[in-house]
């Protein structure tokens, strides 16, 4: 199990075109051995989290990129801030 999973594919949308694998400058993907299936994220720890793979993907929703859990940040509705008593 990798420590983080930066990239998730939706196998139902992804056509396995490998455009994401070709643009990734770190080269963290390899094409799936099975043609037409999503690429394999072989080196998830090397991901730079730039998002180019998502930016070039021709099938919207086929690929998502998320920061690791430890880097998820918090926001709050301004109206919910505790005003001083």
């Amino acid at each position: 199990m990798p420590v983080s999973k930066p990239i998730l594919f939706n196998a139902e949308i992804c056509t396995g075109c490998n455009i994401c694998a070709d643009i990734c400058q770190v080269d963290i993907f390899i094409p799936n051995p099975e043609k037409g299936k999503p690429p394999v994220v072989l080196y998830p720890g090397e991901c730079w989290y730039c998002g180019c793979c998502v930016m070039v993907c021709p099938s919207e929703g086929a690929i998502t990129l998320h920061h690791p859990l430890m880097n998820q940040v918090n926001w709050i509705a301004k109206s919910e801030l505790q005003t001083p008593v």
Binding site: L42, C50, C52, H67, V73, K78, S79
Partner: protein
């Protein structure tokens, strides 16, 4: 170990030779602009890139602002005044030549990129009427709306535009090739550079590139002190594979370096203590001008450099009366009073006054245009922000009119690192250059992050194009020189012999990188002592002798990662030699000694340079202002360009 069979043909035994007039090493911003420039000069250009040129390099995924475009039609500051300010703000420890080029030619490059298809102005009139927009030119400015030297740009469009231009000009692009060494005439250190060697990152095939002139356009070193085996890609600010290969191969070839003793306490390492850049509440760079509030909703006031509270958002973007301009941006952390711009009141003062943590960035109370330009244009265009921050936060419900984004840590950097957790950031060391952006090695030119005291996008683009011009001039009167077969064979042996090691007992790239980082934290931390630096050097030399020959990689990809760590090991030694050479502390270089005079002695106000001659380290020093008068020298070396070429 591997669950998947390697999908590419493995070609350890194959070799190919490619010949060019001008060889560009690295396909980031500087490399692309260098190649474009040389091709326009009629040269046969080969560009070699480790990733995929179309979107690779530090600026491959985007960029939201372009600094120091002093010749743009709205700028009120001359290139001379701006460069001198950048020099003065760092007490002279800055690259006068490269930053003058940035200030003088940066806007020319923006116009160039616009012609290629990049977006540099608000052609859609999205921000019509905004305080930061010039209505005539539709250019948009950041930080200081009075002096208008920094432009907001749509950087996601830039790299693909450059890529198309390269193809149009017939530049031969070799993607997925790691350059591993420079070839020198007769195979001798310090001789003319006659080409380079490379290895395919997927197949392992060996390539020999011959060039009359070569331009070093690789990134600055990284992962010297900071390493995470689980999140290697988040260790540093620059991309994972940008770790300073160029510095390492330059050192081995005999190139001269400056300011390599400078390192700063880490500011960005999302694998460690910080959060993704521009992804948390802050008010710097992309987020400059955002309001910061405490957890009861009370606003932290902005003040001018004299501590006077600013009573409007508009004043956050203006110098004080009588101040011609202020400096903000990537490499400006603590500007001198004369260049200091508006800031929120210091964190410690706020705590004393009872402001409640955590703080938040609040865009809801900004004028609409200021909110839209930060959350929208800037966050949409900055590298690494469009997808993981802008799109993801938006999809998760973040609404800048309603929500406030939490700040982490005690300042805008979102974390507090330990003093020994260091990185090369904020004008770090690199290749020493002259007015042609040539190194001390004949035929070897340098641009972008490879240069000493490099910084941002505009610097990379401007110096890249300039180096391309000067390398072309050299190339057009030089011959191709035959490389040394012995040098090539030695390099092949270095790369491939380790594949014969026993994977069960050999060491992999992560273990070696981790060990280097720990060694550097231990022996070359915040406070330097000669005895420790020398011990650290011995330790790294032992790694080179005993560990490097006993390493292993399972496939070409892992071999590249391993070769990168060998380069990290080389760069770490350049740093140690440079630290040993500087005998007194220097505030400007963030260099502290525990065993020498605390203050900077007058004699030490010199650039210390290091290089190898016959594999012996040679230390020298040159005056900080060795480049002479900026305007005069620029004119002298660029007559053809000034003439309109």
């Amino acid at each position: 170990m591997q669950n998947f069979e390697w999908p590419y043909p493995v070609e350890w035994d194959k070799e190919e030779t490619i010949t060019a007039d001008v060889l560009v090493l690295g396909g980031g911003i500087a490399g692309c602009m260098a190649a474009i420039s040389a091709a326009r000069k009629g040269q046969n250009v080969v560009l070699v890139e480790k990733g995929a040129t179309k979107m690779s390099g530090a600026g491959g995924s985007g960029c939201d602002h372009w600094e120091s475009a002093a010749t743009n039609p709205c700028s009120k500051i001359t290139p001379e005044i701006l460069t001198n300010a950048m020099l003065d703000d760092n007490n002279g420890y800055n690259n006068g030549i490269s930053h003058y080029i940035e200030c003088r030619e940066g806007y020319d490059r923006l116009l160039d990129i616009e012609k290629m298809g990049g977006k540099i102005r608000d052609t859609d009139d999205e921000f019509k009427g905004a305080a930061f927009r010039d209505e005539k030119s539709k250019l948009m400015f950041a930080y200081d709306y009075e002096s208008k030297i920094t432009l907001r740009i749509w950087g996601t469009t830039f790299k693909p535009a450059m890529f198309n231009e390269l193809k149009k000009l017939g530049v031969k692009i070799f993607d997925r090739i790691m350059v591993t060494s420079l070839l020198t005439e007769g195979g001798r250190q310090g001789n003319r550079c006659v080409g380079a060697t490379g290895i395919h990152t997927r197949t392992g095939k060996f390539l020999i590139f011959r060039g009359k002139a070569s331009i070093m356009c690789m990134s600055r070193p990284a992962r010297i002190w900071m390493f995470s085996s689980d999140h290697t890609g988040l260790c540093e600010f620059r991309p994972t594979q940008c770790i300073g290969d160029g510095h390492a191969m330059g050192w081995i070839a005999g190139a001269e370096f400056a300011m390599m003793e400078k390192s700063v306490r880490t500011e960005f390492s999302a694998a460690g203590r910080s959060y993704p850049p521009y992804g948390t509440g802050n008010n710097h760079n992309t987020w400059y001008g955002a309001s910061i509030i405490d957890s009861t909703g009370k606003e932290i006031p902005y003040a001018d450099r004299d501590g006077n509270i600013l009573d409007s958002v508009e004043k956050r973007f203006l110098p004080v009366k009588g101040q011609p301009f202020f400096l903000k941006g990537g490499s400006v952390d603590n500007p001198k009073y004369v260049y200091e711009g508006p800031e929120t009141l210091p964190f410690s003062d706020m705590i004393e006054k009872g402001y409640k943590l955590p703080f938040y960035a609040d865009l809801s109370c900004l004028p609409e245009m200021e909110r839209k330009v930060i959350w929208g244009m800037m966050i949409g265009e900055e590298g690494k922000t469009r997808v993981p921050i802008y799109e993801n936060y938006k999809n998760a419900g973040f609404d800048p009119e309603k929500h406030v984004l939490q700040c982490y840590g005690t300042g805008w950097t979102s974390a507090s690192f330990l003093p020994q957790e260091r990185q090369l950031f904020g004008l770090p060391g690199g290749f020493l250059n002259n007015w042609e952006l040539k190194t001390n090695i004949e035929g070897l030119y340098v641009a972008g992050d490879s240069l000493y005291a490099s910084n941002c996008y505009g610097h990379a683009a401007a110096t890249g194009y300039y180096a391309g011009r000067h390398a072309s001039k050299y190339s057009s009167r030089a011959n191709v020189v035959q490389f040394s077969r012995e040098q090539v064979d030695t390099e092949k042996k270095r790369i491939y012999t380790l594949l014969q090691n026993n994977p069960e007992t050999a060491i992999g790239w992560k273990e070696l990188n981790m060990s280097i980082a720990k060694t550097m934290q231990t022996y070359c931390g915040d406070i330097k002592y000669d005895d420790l630096l020398n011990t650290g050097l011995l330790c790294l030399q032992e790694y080179e002798k005993k560990v490097v020959p006993n390493t292993y990689a399972y496939n070409p990809h892992e071999l590249i990662r391993l070769l990168e760590v060998f380069d990290i090991l080389t760069v770490s030694q350049i740093i140690l030699h440079s630290c040993i050479a500087r005998k007194t502390s220097s505030k400007s270089l963030c260099f502290n000694r525990g065993d020498g005079p605390r203050s900077e002695a007058g004699n030490d106000k010199r650039l210390i340079t290091v290089k190898q001659v016959n594999n012996k380290v040679v230390i020298d020093e040159i005056p900080l202002d060795f480049f002479g008068d900026l305007k005069e020298n620029y004119k002298k070396y660029n007559k053809d360009y000034i003439g309109g070429n």
